[in-house]
Symmetry: C2
Subunit: 317 residues, 2 copies
């Protein structure tokens, strides 16, 4: 099967058609018509087999996750998803694998109306690079550098589940309901697109938690030239996680493990009630986990006692 | 050295600044302002070590080529280059290698005013994926499906040099002036951006020759529902190639070898003189190599005798 047969069979028949895609897969370039008055938000993420997902991960889950982690970057800017390019490197032209990969990819693409506009298919060790473009109104951009002394710090959803899921997969732990939930959180992260769009009219700093809460919160603090206090007793934890830790959470993997893909954002005291209300109306759970300070440090407190957390994020090199 | 140190040291200080890049590397997404009245042309190409370039290729050349092959896709649409994302997977954080890689990348980025707007740096077997965006006027788009019966077929530059260069590198041939020229053609392909822009006001079909002339011409014929005759005696061949073949060219590698990155385009008889004049004025060499037919076949003739060419392009799988 040639590269072109693969393209025709698996990539060209995307489920999402958009009027702003004037020419999709099949020429030297895709031709796109950006909407007037909007800016483009663009991000790229690569997933490597054995690094970003365990080697035995199901093809559907890899397809889903490769789009999800990119959508998560759009969420952190308050952008509306539009177009994706998919560069996939495969050890062999395994049609069954590709079909299942695209099932997972297209499931999420359909949900967020993302058109697959192009890409490349090459042979080599399994690796997927997605380039995603979304639209933002210039005045509604979520930036990392908007945090201010006294702002409250929030996160969506719960933290630490994906790290437990990874541990369960890598160490072949006997699975129960809770571990299955955590593995799902690892393989099928939910990009917080709706939360990003709802937050975008407010002047908040935001980032998606891909490298671990502490590492990502530090990015906000560095960009905003501020510090933060995190109150560990307020971290949102799932029942599955509490059960796994027998109600004695181990903070290090919760704060330093990656793959949560929740949003971390800050809000001035004035906006806290409005933000809480609008997210609650849209059934998005958020938790206040701390406060921005004027120091340049990120410190963790548990019942007002300083806790020393060693590791603060995944490092590739 | 962390991923973030790498980003700061090697990628953030791009040499090209553009007013339409409102936010470059350093947040969750880049923020871009597309020009009014233009459409976007977007393409993605992955280069894998040992597949798209020999493993011992110099870092500068890999950096140059990874941008060049993407620019070549913009050239084939008649687009003006603007923004690039760079996803690079590296076996180790080799700072000297990265510095040299970016020297090659930035050399070409500076020439065509391409801003590096983002990307991803991951660890694994060496592989580079570039996503490129250019601008086109809606009325000036070069498409593959514009070829018509009776059109003349042209190519820019010369064909087959890169294939000889690859052969020289892979088989450690003793180098002379001609082989060094062919290796340079392999490692430093010149994207035909100017030719694409000059051709864009004419209604021509165009494609860049990345998989070999015959394979790429067939893409034009399939998209345009036509056929073609290629007159082999008219193929533009370099002195280095003729010397290598002792003036007895082997057509198969010349027609089927990839990596030429010249443009192949068609023109109605009416436009031939105008196109020749404007390209000559801009010192771009073109050769008429054949004619579009109303059959659905691509045939090669040498002095009016049919020549059977077996292989017609690189296939990844």
């Amino acid at each position: 099967m040639s590269e072109f047969d693969l393209i025709n069979q698996f990539f060209k028949q995307g489920t999402v058609k958009r009027d702003d895609v004037l020419l999709g897969i099949g020429d030297d370039c895709a031709i796109l018509s950006p909407p007037p008055g909007r800016q483009l938000a663009v991000s790229t993420d690569t997933l490597i087999s054995g690094v970003h997902f365990p080697e035995n991960t199901a093809a559907e889950d890899i397809g889903y996750k490769s789009l999800a982690v990119n959508l998560s970057d759009l969420a952190a800017m308050g952008a509306e998803p539009a177009w994706a390019s998919l560069a996939i490197t495969l050890p062999a032209a395994d049609q069954s694998w590709l079909k299942r990969f695209m099932l997972g990819f297209n499931e999420l693409a359909s949900k967020y109306k993302v058109a697959l506009i192009g890409g490349d298919t090459t042979r080599g060790p399994l690796s997927i690079t997605v380039n995603i473009t979304g639209f933002v109104k210039p005045e509604n951009l979520l930036r990392r550098n908007q945090a201010k002394h006294g702002d409250k710090i929030f996160v969506t959803g719960t933290l630490g589940d994906a790290g437990i899921g990874l541990n369960a997969v890598l160490n072949n732990l006997p699975l129960d309901h809770g571990l299955n939930y955590c593995i799902k959180r690892l393989n099928r992260p939910r990009p917080q697109i709706e939360a990003g769009l709802l937050l975008s009219p407010f002047s908040v700093a935001a980032i998606d938690i891909s490298d671990g809460l502490l590492a990502d919160l530090k990015h906000i603090c560095i960009a905003s030239q501020c510090g933060a206090i995190v109150n560990l007793e307020n971290l949102p934890l799932s029942d599955a996680l509490l059960q796994y830790y027998n109600n004695q959470p181990d903070w290090q993997p919760i704060l330093g493990g990656g793959d949560d893909y929740e949003l971390c954002f800050t809000s001035s005291q004035n906006n806290v009630e409005d933000i809480k209300n609008i997210l609650q109306l849209n059934k998005i759970d958020i938790s206040c986990i701390g406060e921005i300070t004027d120091s340049l440090e990120v410190n963790c407190l548990f019942n007002n006692q300083l806790v020393d957390i060693q590791h603060d994020g995944y490092n590739h090199f």
